[in-house]
């Protein structure tokens, strides 16, 4: 066997190079956009977090971990983080359970399935800023229909969005209202993908009633859907912003101060860019940590 037989011929090598070049050229627009819109800003945030730069400054100095230290010493940060986590811990399971329940109900009746699906999914598709305004009117202390109903029923009325004990729970209800439609739609798709054979097998095996069928077939079969809904809902809930910005602005008494709203305030209202960048990075670490933990513990229990 000659050595020439093993070597790649120059013509083939040239063709490979041409192909690689073409491939890079084709990906160039996407790469450029990705860099300008995502990678470079992310790098910039990372960089700014370690400097003393604030919006409008002409000079920039390395500040080490000073920004991070002041974040961790700031009680507002801790209030904000706690509020965000409490919000997510309530909203995510509640919206998932409600979404699953709705999906089971909508799926059970063959008529009007599309209608109910669309109605419940509407909150997720509509702009949350606009929906927040609707909620503001609904919950208005004097002209709102919710208080009017409470009064008619002889119950005490509330200033939902300004009562320190009710503001965050009220935002949670709105969050659940929005996310459960999304959970329902995905669960509905998941339910339809369950092979009917499995339900027939369950009946042959003597499964009595809806609960046995649910535990033996429906719930395990929805595992992958549930994991997906969980990850997306958690992300959405941890990044709650619109309802806070429109309805409460973090008040009363910082009871509705949440992470994204704090970052927004620091960066765009107080113009402390370096501080906001440090907050952003800490929040990112928290988000990634929570997700990683959840996916790692849950994925073992889900069977694809």
């Amino acid at each position: 066997m000659s050595a020439a037989g093993l070597a790649i011929s120059p013509a083939a090598a040239a063709r490979d190079r041409r192909e690689a070049l073409t491939a890079w050229l084709f990906s160039l627009p996407a790469l450029a956009l990705l860099s300008v819109m995502l990678l470079l800003p992310a790098l910039a945030v990372f960089f700014v977090a370690f400097t003393d730069w604030q919006l409008g400054n002409n000079s920039i100095h390395f500040a080490g971990t000073a920004n991070f230290e002041s974040v961790l010493k700031d009680p507002v940060f801790w209030t904000s983080l706690r509020n965000t986590l409490v919000y997510a811990v309530v909203v995510v399971p509640a919206s998932m359970a409600l979404g699953l329940g709705l999906a089971l109900l909508v799926n059970a009746g063959p008529s009007l399935r599309g209608f109910y699906g669309a109605v419940f999914f509407l909150p997720f598709t509509a702009s949350l800023v606009a929906m927040a305004l609707v909620w503001q009117i609904l919950l208005h202390p004097t002209i709102g229909p919710v208080n009017a109903l409470l009064a008619m029923a002889g119950l005490p009325t509330h200033n939902f969005l300004h009562d320190p004990n009710l503001a965050l729970p009220t935002l949670m209800v709105i969050g659940i209202w929005q996310l459960s439609g999304y959970a329902m739609l995905l669960n509905l798709a998941g339910l339809r993908a369950i092979p009917p054979d499995l339900y027939e097998a369950a009946r042959m095996d003597g499964a009595r009633g809806a609960w046995s069928r649910f535990t033996l077939v429906t719930w395990p079969q929805l595992g992958p859907t549930t994991l997906f809904v969980f990850v997306v809902s958690s992300m959405t809930a941890l990044q709650v912003f619109e309802t806070v910005a429109v309805l409460t602005k973090g008040q009363p008494a910082r009871r509705t101060e949440v992470m994204l709203y704090t970052i927004y305030n620091e960066g765009f209202v107080f113009l402390r860019t370096n501080y906001a960048a440090a907050l952003m990075i800490i929040f990112l670490v928290v988000l990634c940590g929570v997700m990683l933990l959840n996916v790692l513990t849950l994925e073992k229990r889900v069977h694809y």
Binding site: E200, R203, M204, D205, G206, A207
Partner: protein, 385 residues
């Protein structure tokens, strides 16, 4: 032990009748196949017997109990599904245990963790485990009980499905095309295992299939079903040799049966494409007859004679043990001949005379029903013109 009796059962989906007045008696310990093309209603019949669907009218008995209109779990029959329908999140052993858990553990005892705290649960679970292991050993699965279904091969999943059906020790087993998802070699092996299982357990097995070779090779009787009606219920040999009608004759047999237009001559002689065969019991007024000749019943002849059909060879398919030779007769009729692998193969384009084996030949009336009997071998030699 129990047989199954289906009496005057009807079922339609909307305006579409799926089963039209089906009556079928399955004897205790019998291996009965329900054979038919897809959409003939055979799976619907099985679901009615299983209790997964309810008949519009008619009665179904398992043993001496009427089960029509009763929920599936009280039918006391087991079923193996075409897709196996294993619970993907449970190990093979847990899959097999499900019917026993449903039967022996109530809702509270089945609860995770909490159920185990109730007194007696442990003892019941140990009993279930022992039964699962015994059943698994029966289908040679003992070493695979901890695997999940997706970690098993098609044949192993099939065995898990069978074990799940056997574990309650019910006397009737329904199988809905259980072999159709297996590859050809495994299917033949599994066919043997099923026959062996039937012999060992004495179960009454109702086996639905669209594969006539499968039905013929493992069943004690075959029920042929077409368009929602039972066409014939008989032993495989009877089905093949003496099909009740044209539809059954055409559906049963590897190579399709040859059909030639035929007419009655005087004295019970029937002529088809120039060859005469003697039949008994054919009315002389019968018209629109067709003669059915299985490809296996034809033999090559040395030279054209009065009792031979002669055709031009249009194609030869050689399979090793045998070959299929296609002829075109005068008048445009085509004929398929099953050739023994040892015989010299004819050349395409040449004229080839063939002769029917003595005592063979079927006659069908215009309605499709079989009429008359070919005269037995000694008297049935083809009559010379």
């Amino acid at each position: 032990m129990a047989g199954v009796a289906v009496t005057n059962v009807r079922k339609s989906f909307g305006a579409e009748p799926v089963l039209a007045d089906v009556s079928l008696d399955i004897r205790d310990g019998e291996f009965l196949s329900v054979l038919g093309p897809s959409g003939c209603g055979k799976s619907t019949l099985l679901k009615l017997i299983a209790g997964l669907d309810i008949a519009d009218s008619g009665e179904i008995r398992v043993g001496d109990r009427v089960v029509s209109g009763v929920d599936a779990r009280r039918h006391d029959v087991a079923m193996v599904f075409q897709s196996y329908a294993l619970y993907p999140h449970l190990s093979a052993g847990r899959n097999i245990a499900v019917p026993l858990e449903m039967q022996r553990l109530n809702g509270f005892r089945r609860l995770p963790l909490l159920g185990r705290l109730l007194p007696g649960t442990g003892r019941i679970r140990a009993g279930i485990r022992a039964d699962v292991e015994a059943t698994a050993a029966q289908v040679r699965l003992s070493h695979l009980l901890d695997r999940l279904p997706r970690q098993l091969s098609g044949g192993e999943r099939q065995r898990v499905a069978i074990a799940r059906a056997l574990v309650r020790r019910l006397s009737v087993l329904l199988m809905d095309e259980p072999l159709s998802n297996l590859d050809a070699q495994l299917r033949v092996a599994m066919r043997g295992e099923l026959a062996e299982l039937h012999r060992r357990t004495g179960l009454t097995i109702i086996f639905v299939t669209h594969d006539q070779a499968e039905a013929m090779s493992i069943s004690s009787r075959v029920a042929v079903m077409m368009k929602g009606r039972l066409q014939q219920v008989a032993e495989p040999r009877v089905l093949y040799d003496r099909p009740d009608n044209l539809a059954v004759a055409a559906f049963v047999g590897d190579t399709p049966i040859n059909l030639l237009p035929a007419r009655v001559l005087a004295g019970g002689t029937v002529e088809a494409a120039g060859v005469r065969l003697a039949f008994d019991g054919v009315p002389e007024t019968a018209a629109g007859l067709q003669m059915g000749i299985r490809p296996e019943w034809l033999r090559p002849a040395d030279a054209a004679a009065a009792d031979t059909w002669t055709g031009v060879v249009t194609g030869v398919e050689y399979f090793g043990a045998e070959a299929v030779v296609r002829l075109e007769l005068k008048g445009g009729h085509s004929m398929t001949v099953r050739w023994d692998g040892d015989w010299a193969l004819p050349a395409t384009g040449k004229a080839q005379p063939v002769r029917i084996k003595p005592g063979r030949g079927l006659l069908f009336a215009a309605s499709g029903d079989r009429i008359g009997e070919v005269r037995p071998a000694d008297a049935g030699l083809a009559v010379a013109i």
